[in-house]
């Protein structure tokens, strides 16, 4: 089958369709580069969306839990090996993507006889100033997009994802408090999950279902210790 170009293209197209279908209904995730650091948030079941990767690095993701775990472990292993063999300053998203995560996702996507990884994610690296922050939107096929905007959304529908970014860019004020940014993210989450046009998102965050929790963390910009990641108490915004 792989010897025939048409069948190869067809298999890849079917694969894209399968992945999108499987990811449909997944709750979106958000990343905001703020003066205090990088805010990451999503709605999950607890320790299911937002993860620490390394001293200045974090991951916020949606997809199948087993695939998320595989990607998470891969990133953590690569980051710690790089930081140990060289130095923590040498751990960068660009290196993690090119040497570790990118090949993993691309291979998984193109191995058409094996199950693909069902995952969409945002990677974050906090810098000394907001200009130095790195936010990368990575798709299930391993394609990285280094985002210049200070707001990144990962959702299963590209059109709605862009609508959410546009709406949040208009709503988030430069000096907004983190809790206000978090509330706006939850309003956007509610709009994306309801599938309604983004022109009129709910004025309040959607009520969170009993089994689901708001997961929030920040990569703090100024941190006297090596570890910049800190989980936030979501009750402050709900």
């Amino acid at each position: 089958m792989t010897d025939e170009p048409y069948r190869w293209l067809e298999a890849i197209a079917n694969r894209r369709e399968y992945i999108r279908d499987q990811l449909k209904g997944a709750s979106p995730v958000f990343a905001f580069s703020r003066p205090e650091g990088i805010l990451l948030c999503g709605v999950g079941v607890g320790q299911s969306k937002v993860f620490e990767v390394y001293d200045r690095h974090a991951l916020v993701t949606l997809g199948h839990p087993v695939d998320i775990e595989k990607v998470r472990q891969t990133l953590i292993e690569a980051a710690h090996l790089e930081g140990f063999t060289r130095a923590p300053e040498d751990v960068t998203l660009r290196r993690l993507l090119s040497a570790s995560l990118g090949p993993l996702l691309k291979n998984a996507f193109e191995q058409i006889f094996a199950a693909p990884l069902l995952i969409e994610l945002i990677l974050a690296e906090v810098g000394r100033t907001p200009d130095q922050d790195v936010l990368v939107r990575v798709g299930y096929d391993g394609t990285p997009r280094f985002i210049k905007n200070s707001i990144v959304v990962a959702h299963t529908n590209a059109t709605d994802e862009q609508a959410a970014v546009d709406w949040l860019s208009a709503q988030v004020q430069p000096n907004a408090a983190l809790k206000d940014v978090g509330r706006l993210a939850l309003r956007a989450e509610g709009a994306l999950m309801s599938g309604k046009p983004f022109a009129s998102p709910p004025t309040e965050p959607n009520p969170i279902a009993k089994e689901r929790v708001i997961e929030m963390a920040i990569l703090e910009r100024i941190e006297p210790n090596r570890v910049h990641y800190r989980s936030l108490d979501a009750s402050t915004i709900s």
């Binding site: 001293d55 953590i76 710690h80 090996l81 140990f84 063999t85």
Partner: protein
């Protein structure tokens, strides 16, 4: 996906763990590090001198190393190996916490250090790689900070009140024993200010009898490295704060 960084290293054929190190640095010996309980937690302190034989290598050496937010290592012995051990443990503890989404237990941290010391046995027996550290950590289940000291082969012992290591430690342990027996207040009852002043006095006392201990001279505003380990984590007592406590402690 066991969270064991030490087994990940050889599996990925990256640079070896401490036992495979082939350091050729000169053997630096002698130092003074110690730890004792005070009313706010555990004080871990050390001097700044590194020596090779009768040569003073440096008077700016940092011997108290933060392994994570709740663990401190005070190193004594061969610094090349001790510092590599500290770096390995730093990475191993954080790797476990991030990959397993829970912190490593205090018992596991203690065993990780034991394992590195045991794997360093060839260098220890050859005499150029002896490491005898002090470990201070907080037990997450009780929130209680504890002090442990090790022999160079990896045996670990919990210190009830204090521990010391390095060539200057006999003087310090004698003074701490005296304070424990007849002091008023005893070190464990001391405020942070009293404990910080005591730590500097202990190092000055040790330096009086041990040429390999030095780098602490309050007159020149040179103070010890002092860190406080409490149930909320680690706090470095900066020079300016030590200076205030030193002046407040009297002549």
């Amino acid at each position: 996906m066991t969270g064991d960084f030490l087994s990940l290293l050889p599996a990925r054929q990256e640079i070896g763990t401490a036992q495979k190190s082939t350091h050729s640095l000169p053997t630096l010996e002698a130092t003074t590090v110690f730890a004792f309980h005070c009313s706010e937690g555990v004080i871990v302190a050390g001097d700044h001198r590194a020596t090779a034989g009768n040569v003073v290598f440096s008077d700016k050496t940092e011997k108290i190393i933060e392994l994570d937010r709740y663990s401190l290592l005070a190193i004594a012995g061969s610094p090349s190996i001790a510092i590599e051990m500290a770096r390995t443990l730093q990475t191993a503890f954080e790797f476990y916490r991030r990959s397993q989404l829970q912190p490593m237990s205090l018992s596991a941290k203690l065993r990780a250090l034991s394992r590195l010391l045991r794997e360093n046995l060839p260098a220890t027996l050859q005499g150029f790689g002896v490491v005898a550290p002090i470990f201070a950590g907080v037990d997450a289940s009780t929130g209680k900070p504890s002090i442990y000291f090790y022999d160079p082969l990896g045996a670990q012992f919990e210190a009830a009140a204090y521990a010391g290591s390095g060539s200057g430690s006999p003087s310090i342990k004698s003074v701490l024993h005296f304070h424990e027996q007849w002091g008023n207040p005893k070190p464990a009852q001391m405020t942070l200010a009293q404990a910080v002043a005591l730590a500097n006095r202990l190092l000055i006392t040790a330096a009086e009898f041990d040429t390999a201990t030095g780098g602490v001279n309050p007159v020149r505003n040179d103070f010890a490295t002092i860190k406080l380990l409490s149930p909320t984590g680690i706090r470095t007592i900066e020079t300016i704060e030590q200076s205030q406590h030193w002046r407040a402690s009297g002549p």
